[in-house]
């Protein structure tokens, strides 16, 4: 679907009403190389002669296939992924991108969250994507293209063989002739191949078949050569003798950072994202990625961020090559230091970076007001270094210091419609209400949500005999059932 998506995303193409196919040449024939969903629904398929397609569908849009442009666009997509998702990303032509998410998934909240986020963003940009995470490149390749359904698929670690077994042979990245030959012999799924002795297979089909099978199962290595676009700032150091001690790694990180900062300064840029790749002697790569909230090229600060991550590097039998890349760099103009008269506000960007790289960028935030009367919607998270909002919330009514993640149903005894309860029972404890304040009526946001067209909440602040203060509300106005269920909920605790 990649070539079709690429064309559909181009601004100058007419509306996507008419079915679209791409035409390319195979020998002397003009055949379909790609077809959009609408065209496939009309019975057109890849490999069909264009003349036949034109005869079948009269108002067909035909565009020339352009594999070079497709590849270029794919590389740009891979670069976008490299800057945002993980340090090792490579193009898997003709229509794939492979990402090594080892050690990068936790920054996005886990593998499932990563796939969901990625799928959402790709769909928004008009790309039909199929995603899969597996132990090996081969397995992920096969799952992404051949598993059933459109939902992203995550193969549990260590279960690669079981996941691959039901997939068809074409999933193994084999030459079409090999697949056809295997089908002739009665092999249908990868599972059939896994259980078959390798000797006769190799003699008949060559070494390629078993190599692909081993790569998919993880028995043979398949390193991913990371995409390094032109103009990327990268510094590199090879070691005559492999290094492994934490102190040695820290020392070389410091040297690499110094070189990188010099290169950044020459271009007037600062790094927003740094990737440290450690190539081990056993041909595996250990990656470290750090993100920065603002562009930086202060060697001490960058070194500190990277050395914090050394415990996550497993040097194995030793590291041969270390490369440091400023994957995302932004212009950084020198600013005038503050004057001597006024005291500079403390610079907390370094602290925010440190914390964000420790617990994840999403877990460091500030809260900012939203104009909404509904308490749980009146607060939103903004980036920790976002500019000051200036204002807070309207302070007419007291607000609790703790708000329950979701309102919890409570039992009460209360007079309708306007009286606070006499007692409440929450989490198995009964509190007699000694004093109460309210009701504070909050209407649903009918201008945003149809379901809240008539919804009402009546909030009460109550104090029990021990002095604990709670924020409770009744769904509904106490008279009209259409405004709410008239059930009571605990929503917060006052300090």
């Amino acid at each position: 679907m990649w070539p079709i998506d690429r064309l559909q995303r181009r601004a100058d193409t007419p509306s996507a009403e008419a079915p679209l196919i791409l035409a390319g040449r195979v020998g002397n024939r003009r055949v379909i190389t790609a077809a959009c969903d609408a065209a496939r629904g009309l019975g057109l398929h890849v490999g069909m002669p264009v003349a036949k397609a034109q005869a079948l569908v009269p108002d067909l849009r035909i565009e020339p296939a352009d594999p070079c442009a497709d590849l270029d666009a794919l590389e740009r997509l891979a670069l976008w992924l490299l800057q945002r998702i993980a340090p090792i990303v490579a193009v898997d032509p003709p229509d794939g991108v492979v990402i090594d998410v080892t050690g990068a998934d936790h920054l996005h909240g886990g593998e499932a969250a990563l796939l969901e986020m990625l799928l959402g963003r790709l769909t928004l940009t008009g790309i039909t994507a199929r995603l899969a995470i597996a132990d090996t490149w081969g397995a992920a390749h096969a799952l992404a293209r051949h598993h059933h359904g459109d939902a992203p698929c995550i193969a549990p670690p260590g279960a690669t063989a079981a996941v691959l077994a039901p997939l068809p042979l074409a999933a193994l990245r084999l030459a079409p002739a090999t697949v056809a030959g295997l089908l002739d012999l009665g092999f249908v799924t990868i599972g059939d191949l896994i259980d078959t002795p390798r000797g006769p297979l190799t003699r008949r089909f060559g070494a390629e078949l078993c190599r692909r099978l081993d790569q998919a199962l993880g028995d043979a290595p398949e390193p991913i050569a990371p995409l390094r676009p032109e103009g990327l700032i990268e510094v590199r150091r090879s070691f005559a003798e492999p290094i492994g001690a934490a102190e040695t790694i820290a020392r070389y990180i410091a040297r690499l950072v110094t070189e990188l900062c010099a290169a950044l300064e020459a271009r007037g840029q600062g790094a927003r994202r740094l990737d440290l790749l450690c190539w081990r002697v056993d041909n595996r790569v250990q990656t470290v990625r750090v993100g920065l909230a603002t562009a930086q090229r202060d060697p001490a600060r960058l070194t500190r961020l990277l050395t914090d991550k050394i415990p996550t590097i497993d040097p194995g039998f030793g590291i041969e090559i270390m490369t440091l890349t400023a994957t995302l760099a932004e212009p950084l103009v020198p600013r005038q230091a503050s004057s001597l008269l006024e005291q500079a506000p403390p610079d907390i960007a370094g602290l925010v970076d440190l914390l964000a790289n420790r617990v994840g960028a999403r877990a460091v935030y500030r809260l900012s007001p939203v104009a909404s009367d509904v308490p749980e919607r009146s607060v939103t998270r903004v980036a920790a270094l976002s500019p000051d909002q200036g204002g807070g919330w309207p302070g007419h009514w007291p607000r609790p210091s703790r708000l329950l993640p979701r309102p919890e149903p409570i039992e009460t005894l209360a007079l309708l419609p306007d009286h606070p309860p006499k007692w409440i029972a929450w989490r198995g404890t009964r509190h007699a209400v000694a004093r109460a304040d309210g009701p504070e009526r909050i209407f649903g946001e009918w201008w945003k949500r149809d379901a809240e067209a008539r919804a009402v909440r009546d909030y009460f602040r109550i104090e029990n005999e021990a002095g604990q203060r709670f924020w409770i509300f009744r769904a509904g106005d106490g008279e009209d059932r259409a405004t709410g269920s008239h059930r009571w909920f605990m929503h917060g605790i006052f300090g």
Binding site: P346, D347, I348, G350, L351, V352, L354, L355, R358, V359, A363, V364, Y365, R366, L367, S368, P369, P375, S378, V379, A384, D388, Q389, G390, G392, W393, G395, P398, R399, P400, S401, R402, L403, L404, P405, A434, R435, A436, D437, R461, I462, E463, E465, A466, G467, Q468, R469, G492, I493, F494, G495
Partner: protein
Amino acid sequence: MSDARLTLAALRDRIAHLEGAEGHARKTLAFGVPALDRRLPQGGLALGCLHEVSGGPAGAADGAVAACFAAGIAARLPGPVLWCVTQGDLFAPGLEQAGLPPDRVIYVEAGDDISLLACMEEGLRHGGLGAVVAEVARLSMTASRRLHLAAKTSGTTGLALRRWRDPAQAEDFGQPTAAMTRWRISALPSVPLPVPGVGRARWRVELVRARAGETFEMILEGCDDTGHLGLPADVADRPAAAAGRHAFG
């Protein structure tokens, strides 16, 4: 008599010197309630130190009152505030009413207690913050000593808001830590108003443990919107308390 006093003062200086409390720990933050400040070792809360705050028996799990108390202290210190949590149930409008506007607070949501303490230490070491608050359940002697040292070197005040998922775990609160003071704040019934309604919150503020100081407990009114505690009218007007307040002669 004066000899003994001189010796005592010399010994105190020597102890303070040994504790390395020369620089920052001399600075204090007064609560603005003379009855309370008078009973604190240096006339206020020592800055550049670690302090512990917990809720009373009923508030050990939610820590709502303790959070307000900590917010009130942080609000009166200059500079941004780092608030480390493991569960994000703080309600920022409520904190604003305790004096801490949203622009001043940076929240860090750590997955577990270990990374939470690491974040707190990082914040304390940085030096550019006004205060660091961390909602922590388990705080060992070693961890608290690290935090206290970090606070001392940078001069940033650390507030460990002790909060337990399960009130039974609160037994841990009896264990000693390196914190300068340990406060327990529990809610008290407010003074009945002449009309239906709820008055200003009243807290029982207990200083459970204090280095170089004496423990006490007193009844105070909760934080106002500038983070200041108040002395309840009925306590302030008592003859004994009034005698100590020169303003009212």
